[in-house]
């Protein structure tokens, strides 16, 4: 230390501090193990999958590939999606806007779509405490924007799903994402309650996930890429072993020969019949149900809508807009390249 203090800092190298060794040794790099591996480079933290799968070699799970055929029986397919954005912040809470979209199809043709919203929710301590959430979770929701958005989305989507499940008969309800209970659900509109309605009214509910966080499922779906038509592999065992509150039966499914492998959680019917009805009644484009795609597009916020919502808030709630700064940008600046 004396030596260091005695010398001007500019004449020293990082080696004198031992920083390099310290960083290199904080984890075992194991770069030798990378040699010869097949690789996908990540982009913008997005989930990417290899176009032709990881291959059979990488899979330790030997599921049975089951093919299925489209069933054209005029079953109505109703897909639900939603999106939520944070609109504003006050000293006491935050304002969120949510939009839901329902798209329907029958016999391979789009039927109708419904746009719901935007609807505004102002989350404060009092509204969080009124929302049946556990105290700690309610506090977390107020602190974490992502959790708050999740709360608003889950509640809105479940509300729509519940109404569909209790009004439709013998239909297929498509949901974006997996079917699993959420800590944000309210007791009257939980997945469990919705599944009860589905069973009572002979509806099938299918949760379609575009990507899965579980690598074993990704690996297990490899054989599906070799099948020249709609097929699925039952992965319920893997899913149940990884998640506790999942609902329905989980499969990795390919809806057409050119599409990607999706995860489907099926509730209220057999896999063959449910997937056959889906493929037979919903136009499948690039391996994805068109109703879900449409529901996604009609539920996303456009720039114009955000502008209009701001105008609505300013005009109707007697609020005062404060000048705000992007702290990160102010402090760090930006170097344009």
């Amino acid at each position: 230390m004396r030596t260091q203090l005695g010398q001007p800092f500019s004449s020293q190298s990082l080696g004198d501090f031992g920083v390099i060794e310290s960083v290199s040794g904080c984890l075992s790099p194991k770069l030798d193990a990378l040699r010869g591996k097949r690789i996908i480079f990540s982009r913008d933290d997005k989930k990417l999958v290899p176009h032709d799968g990881w291959g059979l070699k990488s899979s330790h799970f030997c599921g049975i590939v089951t093919t299925f055929t489209p069933i054209h029986d005029n079953t109505m397919v109703a897909a639900v999606d939603s999106s939520c954005i944070k609109m504003a912040e006050t000293e006491e809470g935050s304002l969120y806007a949510v939009k839901c979209g329902i798209a329907t199809a029958i016999d391979g043709r789009a039927l109708m779509h419904f746009r719901i919203g935007p609807v505004l929710f102002y989350l404060t301590e009092s509204s969080a405490s009124d929302s049946e959430l556990d105290d700690r979770l309610a506090k977390a929701v107020l602190l974490d924007d992502d959790m708050a958005k999740r709360l608003v989305r889950v509640r809105s989507e479940r509300a729509v799903q519940k109404e569909l499940a209790s009004h439709l008969v013998g239909s297929t309800i498509l949901v974006d994402g997996s079917l699993r209970g959420s800590v944000f659900e309210d007791s009257q509109r939980s997945v469990r309650k919705i599944s009860e309605d589905c069973i009572l009214r002979r509806n099938t509910m299918i949760g379609v996930s575009k990507a899965t966080r579980f690598r074993p499922l990704e690996r297990a779906s490899g054989p599906l890429l070799k099948v020249p038509g709609p097929a699925y592999i039952d992965v319920d065992v893997i899913v149940k072993s990884l998640i506790r509150n999942s609902a329905g039966s989980s499969s990795m499914v390919r809806l057409d020969r050119s599409g990607p492998v999706l995860r489907a959680d099926i509730m209220g019917g057999s896999n063959d019949e449910s997937l056959g009805r889906l493929v037979g009644n919903d136009p499948i484009s690039r391996g994805y149900p068109e109703t879900l795609r449409l529901a996604h597009h009609i539920s996303t916020f456009t720039g114009t809508e955000v502008t209009c919502l701001r105008s609505h808030v300013l005009n109707n709630y007697d609020v005062t807009e404060l000048v705000a700064d992007d702290i990160r940008r102010t402090l760090l600046g930006s170097i344009s390249v």
Binding site: A103, T104, A105, A110, L111, M112, H113, F114, R115, I116, G117, P118, V119, L120, E290, L294, H297, I298, T302, G303, T304, E305, T307, C308, L309, S311, H312
Partner: protein, 484 residues
Amino acid sequence: MKILSKDGNELLLLAMKEDSASKGDYMLVEDRRRSMIVQIYDEEYLSSQSLVEDIVKEEVVNASSVESLHDPLNIGILSKLIRDARVFRAKLRASVNGEGRLSSEVAWLPSRVESKVKRLSMAEIDSFLGRTGVFPIPIGKAGDDEDFEIYAEDLDGKLSIITGKKESGKSHLSKVLVKTLVQHGAFVIVFDLNNEYSGLGWNKDRTPSAIHNRIHLLDPGKSLRFKLDYCGKAAISGMLKNALDMPAASLREFFRIWDWLENKQSLGIDAIGNAVNTWNINELVRDALVSRYHVIQSSRLFADDSPGFRFENVISKSGAAGAAIIVSMGNVPPTVRRMVVELVLSKVVDLLERQAIPPIFLFAEEAHLYIRETYWEDIITRMRHFGIYTTFITNQPDAISDGIYRQVDNIFLFNFTNDSDLDKISKVSLVDNDTIRSIVRTLPQRQCLAIGKAVCDLPMVVKVAAADVLTMGETKKFFSKKTS
């Protein structure tokens, strides 16, 4: 309306659906004690990449299935308002200082937040400009369907051009001007190429018009015939040289004959014919004289046996009532047309020089077809000082030279869609290129952009009112529409 931005002398104004304004309208931008007068010259949608994407996305979605909307906050209405929002492009024309006086100082920047933008009525514009006169010429409507008039004083001593593409309403406006000038007691000579001004004497219902008795139709060779001595040596010289291209040597011989006959007091068209045949001259010169003599004779413009037409007689008979002398040239061959124009202009200049007649308003339709190139300059410079105030009416703006455009006091611009015509006009007119291109290109029939002294140099879009005179000179058609 709100100000969006200012770039040079251009202001962008944001307008919502209910803000109505049209191209050519004047707006007053008031910022505390100062104001700015701007003119809207173009209109477009408020557009951004995201807005376009939204519209396309919605159309694609709605094309794929039927939509049902539940929008509790009515955000959709606001969204539609944004989609219908427009941007008006406006040019700064003047500013108004605290005392309400116009100035050209427009370098200051009005507040985007506090400025109020309001539409200016014609009365307000006139009051700012101090545009008044004694002899109004109502030519139609402007602004928010308000009556619009120019003043005869704005054409008096001025050079004006009425131009626009075929059937855009040029002749219509010129008839309104001629009729009103005569009503105000002015004397107007019209070179009528299509024999369409004869209808000025009649209303649409075929009853005599207010200037019925003040219309003098001159048909070359019939009602328009001159005595040689009335025309004078100078006018005949101009006619032979410019309309009949007589060489200088032949012209000299012709005037020897003229002088000889004049001394004998036997100057006449037959006498000239006899003299040309018997005069002791070179045969080539004789041939030149004979051929010109035959053209002159066949034109029947000169008469020995009748008193001939005299401008001063018509004008003195009319007194203070004014008159329109319409020279119908529709059925006349091009050479005779040029002869007529040379004779008329030379004689009128001669009369004006001698102050035998008051100043004359000249309306020349497609003048490039009968006025020689070198004469143009003469018309706009020399003749102007004698008292011939010309209005050219043409559908070929490039037929008029830049020199003339630089002297022009008023331009009435009707619709042009052709780029080269617009280029020509925008280069030489008194208004910026953007205004000309945007406004003139979209002008409907019978609407014009008035530029110049008549509108105190603030360009105005005018809907020319329907003239209550009989339409003449319509194109004869083989296939006529069934009227029943």
